[in-house]
């Protein structure tokens, strides 16, 4: 089977918690934000995507069974429905915990013919992980992605809310170094920023950085 379509081990797929074990973890801020987002749409179902972004931040970057159950609970939807939606989209981390930083290497057309596979293999070798895996220390995940639509900067790498390109071995070294030294998880930051930009000025609790 193609490496590109690899989805990870299904044994790790999170399971729903039992009804009496619902473990709500949204912060005050998250609850306020969800209330704000609810006013944007005519029904609660439409809040599933924005709600999952909040959850991805609140649960440290990984939508485990508890996270899915909490979104379902807060929006009066079923667990199965929310999980079905979450697993469709590649930016929701539903298969395993991605770790602190997701290194997304574009290998699509323009990047492919501007050495993207060399970059992917370099990151892979350097971190000792294959596409879709996370390092043992939980620091980095490597993911091959489709066109990031910044082909003028091919080959392109995205980490959280930042685009890098054109990258080479040297800039990858510097990037990994910088990420290793930083306190913040770029996976969580990305989810937070996505929540913030969807909120109007008067609804916003956090900040756009």
């Amino acid at each position: 089977m193609s490496e590109l379509i690899q989805l990870g081990s299904h044994n790790e797929r999170p399971m729903p918690p039992k009804a009496d074990e619902l473990n709500l973890r949204f912060s005050e801020q998250a609850i306020k934000e969800l209330e704000g987002l609810k006013t944007h749409y005519p029904n609660l179902k439409a809040c599933i995507l924005p709600g999952l972004w909040i959850a991805q931040r609140e649960y440290g970057g990984f939508l485990d069974g508890d996270a899915i159950a909490e979104v379902a609970h807060r929006l009066s939807r079923s667990y199965a429905e929310v999980q079905g939606v979450a697993t469709f989209y590649s930016m929701y981390n539903t298969v395993h915990n991605p770790g602190k930083h997701k290194i997304e290497v574009c290998t699509c057309l323009s990047c492919h013919f501007n050495s993207a596979y060399r970059i992917r293999d370099y990151v892979s070798k350097k971190l000792g992980i294959k596409n879709g895996e996370t390092t043992a220390d939980g620091m980095f995940m490597l993911e091959e992605v489709e066109c990031l639509n910044a082909c003028d900067r091919a080959p392109v790498v995205q980490v959280g809310d930042r685009y890098f390109g054109p990258v080479d071995e040297k800039s990858i070294d510097a990037l990994l170094e910088e990420l290793r030294a930083s306190e913040e998880s770029t996976v969580v930051k990305m989810a937070d920023q996505i929540v913030q930009v969807q909120l109007k000025a008067e609804e916003r609790v956090g900040t756009i950085r």
Partner: protein, 434 residues
């Protein structure tokens, strides 16, 4: 012909990312003018302009605008398709990041013309910078009575929200985008004539207008300077008016976005982008990965226009123009394209779900050196059976390029199948083999 900066005019001046700067550069005069016009007159102006959708299909925009009920019984929605995902395209990203007010003004004029109540900009999740720029601009527009209740003292009220996607090419397809906005998996819906048009029953079964970022961004100029003026741009073509932004990438010296008037020769676009780097030109995909590949002799004669590109058997598409040099292995290009569509097929329709996977399997075995005689015919046959047989055009988009690669470069496929290795053996090419 040279670049013609109409939409990208503001992009050169960061000052226009503030409301004051945008107004100083002539912004919001279109909206002020529109609000004094009859709604139908605004739609007629768009009709006169000859504007066609810039998202890929080139459908006349005014027909959609005119399709929403004039007697309003339910809320009307205005959607902006900012899910730019077509490989090779990066114009919407730039328009949002560098000219956010232009898009907001265009969507507000559209909202006025079709009696819209709420607008949503559906941005792909990766485009956080674009979303931030738009957020800042929307907040400022609200604070200055350019959005919200009673815009500029009229009785027109209009809300505008940003909605982020979460990683799916398919959500750029309009009916899938609506599914996604409603909180579902991003899968397409049955289309007209089997189901009502979105303009009658779209998102939440209510009348919906959906256009691309670039399409809306044209609107302030059309209203401000008049549809007749706009239609003088590109008048040399059969039926393409105005300007079009092309995102040029691949093996060129100066990749980037170039706005040109319709009627410009494709060759000149290549010149603007600094010509081919690293060798002679071998192939060009003029309109994003879904569009058929063409050879250098066609690049030499092609004129950019919706009908004109048809003469060289390709299409304008979304304007994601990729040039490839002589060290490019076309079979590898086809292989990667096949993988893209298989990865992004949403899985709803059997021909597309199974067909894209099947094409991947054949391509995989060819590039693994195990190609079999008849694989080219088989690929074409599978592609033919995917094309036109799915709810949305992703199936077509997967079939067209594969068929074109085989049609234009049969000798390269034959070589791979016969020898089990690439016909391109230069050092440069070997460095690119995954």
């Amino acid at each position: 012909m040279a670049e013609y900066k109409l939409l990208l005019k503001h992009s050169d001046d960061p000052a226009t990312q503030t409301l004051a700067g945008y107004k100083k550069a002539g912004g919001y005069s279109g909206l002020a003018k529109a609000l004094k016009m009859e709604r139908q007159a605004v739609i007629d102006e768009v009709k006169t302009s000859g504007l066609r959708g810039r998202g890929g299909a080139g459908f006349p925009s005014w027909i959609k605008w005119n399709g929403l009920p004039k007697e309003k019984v339910k809320p009307h929605y205005v959607l902006c398709n900012a899910d730019e995902g077509e490989p090779g395209t990066f114009k919407d990203k730039m328009l949002m990041e560098t000219a956010p007010f232009q898009l907001i003004e265009g969507m507000t004029i559209a909202g006025f013309a079709v009696q819209g109540d709420v607008g949503y900009i559906y941005i792909r999740g990766e485009f956080i910078d674009a979303a931030k720029a738009l957020r800042k601009a929307i907040d400022e527009a609200y604070a200055n009575n350019l959005l919200g209740k009673n815009i500029l003292g009229t009785d027109f009220s209009y809300d505008l929200h940003i909605h982020l996607g979460a990683g799916s090419y398919e959500c750029g397809e309009e009916s899938a985008l609506m599914s996604s906005l409603m909180g579902e998996r991003g899968m397409p819906r049955l289309k007209f004539p089997h189901a009502p048009l979105p303009t009658v029953s779209g998102v939440w079964e209510r009348p919906t207008l959906i256009n691309n970022v670039e399409s809306y961004s044209c609107v302030p100029h059309i209203i401000d300077k008049g549809g007749e003026w706009y239609a003088t741009l590109g008048a040399s073509t059969k039926n393409s008016r105005g300007t079009k932004i092309f995102s040029v990438s691949g093996h060129v010296n100066k990749p980037g976005n170039y706005e040109i008037e319709f009627g410009t020769p494709l060759k000149e676009l290549l010149e603007m982008a600094g010509g081919v780097k690293g060798g002679k030109l071998k192939a060009c995909i003029p309109g994003g990965s879904s569009m058929p590949v063409i050879k250098p002799d066609a690049v030499d004669v092609a004129i950019i226009g919706y009908e004109e590109m048809g003469e060289v058997k390709s299409m304008v598409g979304s304007g994601g123009c990729m040039f490839f040099n002589e060290h490019t292995d076309i079979v590898m290009l086809a292989w990667r394209t096949a993988h893209f569509y298989a990865n992004e097929s949403c899985g709803k329709c059997t021909p597309c779900r199974e067909g894209t996977r099947w094409m991947v399997q054949i391509m995989d075995r060819i590039v693994a050196g195990n190609g079999q005689k008849g694989d080219m015919e088989l690929l074409t046959e599978v592609a033919n059976n995917v094309e036109g047989r799915s709810f949305c055009a992703l199936g077509d988009a997967a079939a067209w390029p594969i068929k074109a690669f085989i049609r234009q470069f049969p000798e390269e496929f034959e070589y791979w199948i016969e020898h089990g290795k690439s016909p391109v053996t230069s050092k440069e090419a070997l460095a690119l083999v995954p």
